[in-house]
Each structure stands twice: as C-alpha cells, then as structure tokens.
Point group: C2
Chain length 204, copies 2
C-alpha cells in the first residue's frame, strides 16, 4: 500500500503529521492513526492537547536551561539541593539520566549541545556564557563535567576547563572505567587502559 488514495482529508493530514516524526514511515503512521480512531474521543482530544501544550506552554529554566513547566525549574527551586555543585550536561536527556541514578543532589547546567566542528557547532552556540557568569558570581565550589566520552565531549571538556579554571572552582569529570556487566574480552583498549590506571583498592 502506498496510500496514494485517501478517502478522507482529515485522515491523510493525521497520517502525514505522524509520518513526519523520525523513524516513523507512512505505514506505521497509518497504523498509529487507526489506533487513535478506535479510541474514545475524549482520550484522543487529550492526546492532541498534550502535544499543543507541550510546545506552547513549556519553558526552559532561566537558571540552568533545563526543560520546565515554570520560569525556574523544580531542581533549581529545590532548597534541599546543594547549590555549590554544578553538573554540566549536554542536554535535558542527560539531566534525566543523572537524576535517575538518585546519586546527585546538586544543580545542573544544560549546554544545549556539544562543541562539534564537523556539525558547525562552536562554543558560541552553547550556553557557556551563562555558565561562566554563574561561576564568576561565586558560590560554586565544584563543576562536574558530565559530557559524553566522545571526541566532541573531550573537546568541550577541554574548552570549558580552559575557560572556567581561572575562577578556580574544583573541576571534575565522570569516572571512566569498565561498565557494569561488561566482559573484559570485549572492552575496548582505551577504556581498559584507563580502568587499569585508575584502579581502586578492593572493597568488600
């Protein structure tokens, strides 16, 4: 089926919208729309409204650039959070990844990307000025650079270090080593080499 013939314009519109999403072809889009058609109207209207609200009512936190329903996000507003700790991440997915560890009680700073000359993304495209401002104001004792362990991540780490170290906060990066469940046989040599160099005393 190539759906050259739709008997309904409304159906065609909805299929086209779903098919515009990444990884969703026209056949899948049609299947999703057929699923919506079988539901009760209130449910489908709620679906549509959640999409409209998502784009029209959502904010980016003025402090950390994280996604938020309010001007300042819940993490930045939380009085129990340690404001002297700032974890620098690439995007909001990474905020959630760190939050899900339930190990971190400081604040975040979302860069909105990573330095990548090949994609034409330089330091000026990222929220680095506001991070520098934050550090310059004082009160930040440690900056945790939690970026991807890729070439771009390393470049960004290096750039941020160069730019922020003059304000002398303690700058750290995530530990690198063998991941949980990894078999040594299949671990790449760089990871294994680093894990060996940064070995820890055995803890029972």
């Amino acid at each position: 089926m190539s759906f050259t013939e739709f008997t309904s314009r409304l159906l065609e519109d909805a299929v086209n919208e779903f098919a515009s999403l990444p990884g969703i072809g026209r056949k899948t889009a049609f299947r999703l729309v057929m699923n919506l058609l079988r539901r009760n109207p209130a449910e489908v209207i709620r679906f549509g409204e959640s999409i409209i609200k998502l784009r029209s009512e959502i904010h980016y936190c003025t402090v950390c650039n994280n996604i938020s329903d309010t001007e300042v996000c819940n993490i930045c507003k939380d009085p129990k959070r340690d404001k002297s700790l700032v974890c620098v991440v690439e995007n909001i997915q990474d905020v959630m990844a760190v939050e899900n560890t339930r190990q971190y009680r400081g604040l975040y700073h979302v860069l909105g990307g990573i330095i990548s000359p090949i994609d034409g993304i330089g330091p000026a495209d990222l929220k680095i000025d506001s991070l520098e401002e934050k550090v310059k104001e004082g009160g930040v004792s440690e900056i945790i650079l939690a970026l991807s362990t890729t070439m771009e991540g390393d470049t960004t780490n290096f750039y941020l270090y160069k730019r922020l170290s003059k304000y002398s906060p303690f700058i750290t990066t995530l530990a690198r080593g063998v991941a949980m469940g990894d078999e040594l046989e299949y671990t790449d040599e760089i990871t294994l080499g680093r894990a060996l160099n940064n070995r820890n005393p055995y803890q029972q």
Copy 2:
C-alpha cells in the same frame, strides 16, 4: 534510562500519550517528543490539531461505512462510479488497498471486521444487515467478496454467500494464485494447487 524523574509535567504527559500507541515504547516516545520540541510552535500546534480533528470531525459514510470527511464518502458520491458493483471489504485499509490498484470503478461496502469465533466476532457485529438491505433494494448486479484468504475470510465469504445469494446477484471472489515475484519453490501447496486448477491460456 527509565525516566522515573521528569522535570516537566507537560513533557511527561506528552511522552505518556505517545507511549500509549502500539509498538511505541517510552524511549521512542521520548525521542518523538524531543523532535516535536525542536520544531517551531505553529508546526506542533498543527500536529496536535490534526489529531483532535481526526477524532472529532471524521464521519463514517452512511452508505458504505468507509471513513469520510462528509456524511457520504467521495467514492459513493462520485457519479462516474459504477453503482451496480459492490466490493465487500473488511476495513478501510482494504478500501485503500483496492483503490491503489486503480483497477476498480465500483462502490464498496466496509464490514468493519470479519467473522472470527475465536475473537468473539459474529455476523451480528458486522455491517451485514445494511449490505443485505442494499442488495434487497436491487440495482446491485455483482458483489465482489474481497476478504482476506484466511480461515476467517473463508467463513465470512461462505456466510455472506448463503445470506445474499437468494437475491440472486452475481457473487464473485478475488482470484487466488501465485503472487507477483513469488518463487514456486516457496509457494505453499494450497496456493499452488489452486493456481494450477485455475490456470489461464498463455497471453503474449
């Protein structure tokens, strides 16, 4: 990532809605929502509205039960269509499949399902009464049973034949045989047997 922590309620709502669709897990749903967030607001609002309109404004054709933007669908309204031909199909997807062949210029009748005792679907659950009514009124010279070549399809064909043949329209079914591109070696024996019995004179 299990997304136990969302920093935005709006984001979480949208992800939940997408994840309620068949074949879309929470990770994919999140990826789709992130794609919407990167688009311009007008585009996303149009997306949401197309979903709302789909469910609240769509009709089912009062003549053939096909999906339609109006009371009577474009196919039933089309004066160039042969009204004496009725193609009986299971659902609206099948209407589109037949339309896409561009070989058929008659009308349709959408049953809205197929007789399937295992799923608890009997003749009373399908739009058979209105089909009988249509045939009884006269003017229908041929009924093409275009149902799936499954056990359920065969059962439904048999039931429809029993019920409609007393009004003596010409009742036909789709030709069965070896599909385009099929290799004989992998064709099942029933299909191959039927194709052999219904062989046609060779045409150059």
